[in-house]
């Protein structure tokens, strides 16, 4: 039985009259507030923010941090999320005052170094993805998807075509269809074939003159490379549609293959996955988009450009066919600094080795676990693989959720579960290249032990976790009777 008690909320630690803040005395003549602001607009009741000392504050959040698991705490094989090490040097680079303390509206001549960094990152991401130009403006992967689809829409409309549908495979991330909807498209789902790829016949049946684009993740969310990609591109392009690359799984192809060479017209990357920027407990991320030539006029504005004649970097707003702005200012610059730091640290051979090790680690684990769990697609995988826990559910009543919760007792974050949707009781494992063999073996040993427990002592698994600060949560009540803020 856990000894842990409720952890107080910061509002419950508040003591009237206690303060942490430190501000200077007013050094200008004071004017009565009601002479400056109409009385109706002067706040009557202050916000009930906590009143506490600086040490109380630090202790509270330090304690909260100890109730959280990050990559620095242990293995995090969350499939499709690429939870790799977040290098400390990237953090240091982003905090240099010349990057962290510059205002987005300073005149261009005052921020040449920042614009140069953005320009270089655009050029290098274009080379890595095989695209012609890149915009760093989108804030996250889903934001990049939507930006890409808006450009696709602008492209078709500029050609006088009103296309209405976006095709996504049944294994796609939920953001794909949601982004299509928000960009004004109707989603058509195409089923996977028995090898986990796109079923070409099914694709041919749904591609037509209404098709604006096909969105694809390659390798797919099953961790399998779509080996018919060239044929798929032909089918979509012949019908006048475009091909959208969801870069969530780009860690599998660096230096080996590029979306641009596969036939993709638009790409987004998740810099917080492949390019080591921290996930931050849910954000901030960065989701740059790359495009082929014909889509360049539609990129978000302004564009960061290099004026070679004057050796000067500029923000070009004069882009009449642009879809406009998709975010305030120029994107998540602080995140882009970290990603650029990573790319410059690795270089071309380093990035290729990243992919090699990520793929080697995934295949190694897949084959170690194969005798103990079922492998729905038995072929070489890329950076991740999907198992199914269906035999333990069927025979012993141990669900994949139980297996995931039991892993918490081994000090590792569980893999992604119940995704992709086309695999029953899915367990999706992505080790990444930054984990050593001992960590991989420890995880496999734990998975094998849990499989054994499921057979011999299923209650041990069903009642997991046993060692975490809190037990499983009542999520139903949380959704039925939402309590979404502290009530004073």
């Amino acid at each position: 039985m856990r000894q842990e008690q409720d952890k107080a909320l910061i509002f419950e630690l508040s003591v009237e009259g206690r303060v942490a803040y430190s501000l200077p005395e007013l050094d200008v003549p004071e004017i009565a507030v009601d002479e400056l602001i109409p009385s109706a607009y002067i706040r009557k009741e202050p916000a009930r923010l906590p009143e506490m000392s600086e040490l109380d504050l630090i202790r509270h959040y330090t304690e909260l941090s100890k109730r959280n698991h990050g990559i620095d705490d242990g293995f995090y094989p969350l499939g499709s999320c690429t939870m790799k090490y977040n290098p400390k040097r990237n953090e240091r680079m982003a905090r240099i005052p010349g990057f962290a303390q510059i205002h987005p509206l300073q005149p261009e001549e005052q921020v040449q170094g920042a614009l140069e960094l953005m320009y270089n990152l655009q050029v290098e991401l274009a080379e890595i993805t095989g695209m012609d130009e890149v915009s760093l403006q989108p804030a996250a992967g889903a934001h990049g998807e939507w930006t890409g689809l808006m450009m696709i829409r602008a492209y078709h409309e500029a050609r006088g075509e009103k296309r209405t549908t976006v095709i996504v495979p049944d294994s796609a991330h939920g953001t794909n269809p949601a982004s299509a909807t928000v960009a004004g498209y109707r989603t058509v789902t195409v089923k996977s074939n028995e090898r986990g790829g796109v079923d070409l016949e099914a694709l041919r049946a749904v591609v037509n003159e209404d098709t604006a684009a096909l969105m694809l993740t390659n390798p797919s969310t099953l961790g399998l490379f779509e080996d018919q990609i060239v044929e798929i591109a032909e089918i979509v392009h012949e019908a006048g549609g475009l091909l959208y690359y969801d870069g969530a799984n780009a860690n599998a192809i660096l230096g080996y293959a590029r979306p641009g060479d596969m036939g993709f017209d638009v790409v987004h990357l998740n810099l917080h996955k492949t390019f080591t920027t921290p996930h931050g407990g849910g954000g901030p991320g960065s989701g740059p988009v790359g495009v082929k030539k014909m889509l360049i006029p539609h990129l978000p504005k302004p564009r960061v450009e290099y004026d070679e004649a004057n050796d000067r970097y500029t923000l070009n707003w004069d882009r009449p066919q642009s879809i406009g702005k998709v975010k305030g200012f120029w994107g998540n610059f602080g995140i882009n600094v970290r990603a650029y730091s990573y790319i410059r640290t690795m270089g071309p051979d380093g990035l290729k080795q990243v992919t090699e090790n990520a793929v080697l680690n995934a295949n190694y684990m897949m084959r170690r676990l194969e005798p103990h769990y079922d492998l729905p697609y038995n072929q070489i995988c890329k950076h991740e693989f999907v198992l199914t826990g269906r035999r333990y559910k069927k025979e012993f009543g141990v669900k994949t959720l139980d297996i995931a919760k039991r892993l918490l007792d081994f000090g590792v974050h569980p893999p992604t579960i119940y995704f992709p949707l086309n695999v029953e009781e899915a367990i999706m494992i992505e080790p990444t290249e930054t984990e050593n063999k001992q960590t991989l073996d420890h995880f496999c040993d734990a998975m094998i032990q849990i499989a054994k427990e499921a057979e011999e002592n299923p209650e041990q698994v069903k009642n997991a976790p046993h060692t975490t600060k809190v037990n499983r949560l009542d999520e139903t009540t949380a959704a039925r009777n939402p309590v979404l803020r502290f009530e004073f």
């Binding site: 508040s14 803040y21 430190s22 501000l23 050094d27 004017i31 706040r43 009557k44 109730r67 959280n68 698991h69 990050g70 705490d73 790799k84 040097r89 240091r92 680079m93 240099i96 005052p97 990057f99 303390q101 510059i102 987005p104 300073q106 005052q110 890595i128 889903a142 991330h173 939920g174 949601a178 928000v182 109707r186 990609i229 080996y256 060479d261 996930h279 931050g280 407990g281 849910g282 954000g283 901030p284 406009g324 975010k327 998540n332 610059f333 602080g334 995140i335 410059r344 690795m346 990035l351 190694y364 084959r367 070489i380 984990e435 050593n436 809190v470 009542d474 949380a478 959704a479 939402p482």
Partner: protein, 449 residues
């Protein structure tokens, strides 16, 4: 020399793993990539740098920028330099927070979940609203999403936005609106605030929402009471974008009947960082709780009865609803929201009032000092918080160049976004500026003009 600090696998281990897999080389794991799709050459990017070389290079790049630490800045216009207490960086640098993923496994993510629950409470308190989400990408995108909520709630497809709203916000709203076939109609400006006559003439029962900013782009205080009444008379939603620092002193929009409050949360403990990452605040009245986009953290109990926190109301979200979702957002700006929460807790009930007061008083001192300079005039005479517009007899860009020689980063060139206000400069004065800074700006302007 080991160039790849982040790649732990040794040659011996690699061979051992390949042997276990029954393949000869790692290339054998890539045979599924068809020849036509292969790169077949090295990537053409610069070669790897060691940490020492990298640091030298990044310092060189950063050295080409004029940073706010070394200058006296009066630049605001949507991104604000405020004091960031040391405690903020101490907490957001804890890697248990910053190296974690979204808290999908609540048993080992209570720290971030509780911090977000506290953040939601802070936002509700500052804005006077019932429910906050876990944050959006930034102020402008939250503004765009607010238009989606208004349209969904009213089943209408037109929004009115004041031209006194930050142009960045209006630009992003246009893009968001285009995707959803939402018509965005702008309302004119009168003396630096929304033109009430124009609003009344364009407001009818086809309007889903009226969107304003408070204080607005020029720093002015809009008549929220009146605008809210007009919007509600047509059953349109009333959307207000706020500056959270101003909420230490200005009446909360919830008090004036706002249905949705959004805002740029950067001012709360986040650096200006050339435009991002920031956080978008988004809070609503109870009636709209199930239309709120993005992540939301709720309180519940664990199986042993302990209070605990979890991502909730997920039936709204893209991973459940897929193409039926009303927003595609699948992340929040958790770390920026944590910084905002630590900042608000550090300032506390009294500190938020005091910092707002410093902003208000110093800005008014600057207004009086600058408008006493011969070739400087007030552009409007509307009450303001910590930003105000002046008109100078000179070219703003040229004047700013000369100010830089005195170590001053001047105000935003309003004419670059509003042709009708050519020669106008938007001055922002926060608690970081001293009387000496302001006097120096006035003296330099007098000398330059």
């Amino acid at each position: 020399m080991n160039k790849f600090s982040y790649l732990p696998t040794t040659e011996a281990e690699r061979n051992e793993m390949l042997k276990f897999l029954g393949v000869n080389s790692v290339e054998d794991l890539f045979t599924d990539i068809p020849e036509k799709a292969r790169l077949g050459r090295d990537l053409n990017i610069p070669k790897a740098l060691s940490e020492i070389e990298l640091t030298r290079y990044f310092n060189q790049l950063a050295g080409k920028n004029k940073n706010l630490d070394d200058h006296i800045s009066f630049l605001g216009a949507g991104a604000y330099q405020h004091y960031i207490p040391a405690v903020v960086d101490a907490i957001v640098s804890r890697s248990e927070f910053y190296t974690a993923y979204t808290p999908y496994q609540p048993e080992i993510s209570q720290g971030m979940l509780q911090a977000i629950f506290e953040y939601q409470t802070v936002v509700c308190e500052l804005t006077g609203m019932d429910v906050s989400n876990a944050s959006m990408y930034d102020g402008p995108t939250a503004f765009g999403e607010a238009a989606f909520i208004a349209c969904a709630a009213t089943r209408r497809s037109k929004v009115l936005v004041a031209r006194s709203v930050n142009p960045e916000y209006r630009n992003v709203l246009q893009t968001y609106g285009y995707g959803q076939d939402i018509e965005v109609v702008e309302i004119g400006i009168e003396n630096g605030v929304i033109d009430m006559n124009d609003l009344e003439s364009k407001l009818d029962d086809t309007v889903a929402g009226v969107l304003v900013q408070y204080p607005n782009f020029f720093g002015g205080i809009e008549d929220l009471q009146k605008i809210g009444e007009l919007a509600h008379a047509q059953k349109a939603l009333f959307v207000v974008s706020v500056n959270p620092i101003a909420m230490g002193l200005l009446e909360a929009p919830g008090h004036f009947g706002a249905d949705i409050v959004v805002g740029e949360g950067q001012s709360l403990g986040n650096s200006v960082s050339f435009g991002g990452p920031y956080l978008g605040m988004l809070a609503v009245k109870k009636e709209q709780v199930r239309r709120i986009p993005g992540r939301v953290v709720g309180q519940t109990t664990d199986l042993d009865g302990r209070r605990a926190f979890v991502l909730t109301l997920q039936a709204r979200e893209q991973h459940i609803r897929r193409e039926k979702a009303s927003s595609n957002i699948c992340s929040n700006q958790a770390l920026n929201a944590l910084a905002a929460t630590v900042y608000a807790s550090y300032m506390g009930k009294k500190g938020m009032q005091d910092v707002a007061k410093l902003n208000l008083q110093k800005a008014h001192y600057a207004f009086n000092r600058l408008t006493a300079v011969p070739k400087v005039k007030a552009l409007f005479n509307t009450p303001f918080f910590n930003e105000f517009a002046i008109r100078i007899e000179g070219d703003v860009a040229e004047v700013n160049k000369k100010l830089l020689d005195a170590g001053i980063i001047g105000g935003y060139d309003i004419g670059s976004a509003y042709p009708e206000y050519k020669g106008a400069m938007l001055i922002c004065v926060t608690e970081l500026r001293t009387k000496e800074d302001i006097d120096l700006l006035a003296e330099r302007l007098e000398a330059i003009l």
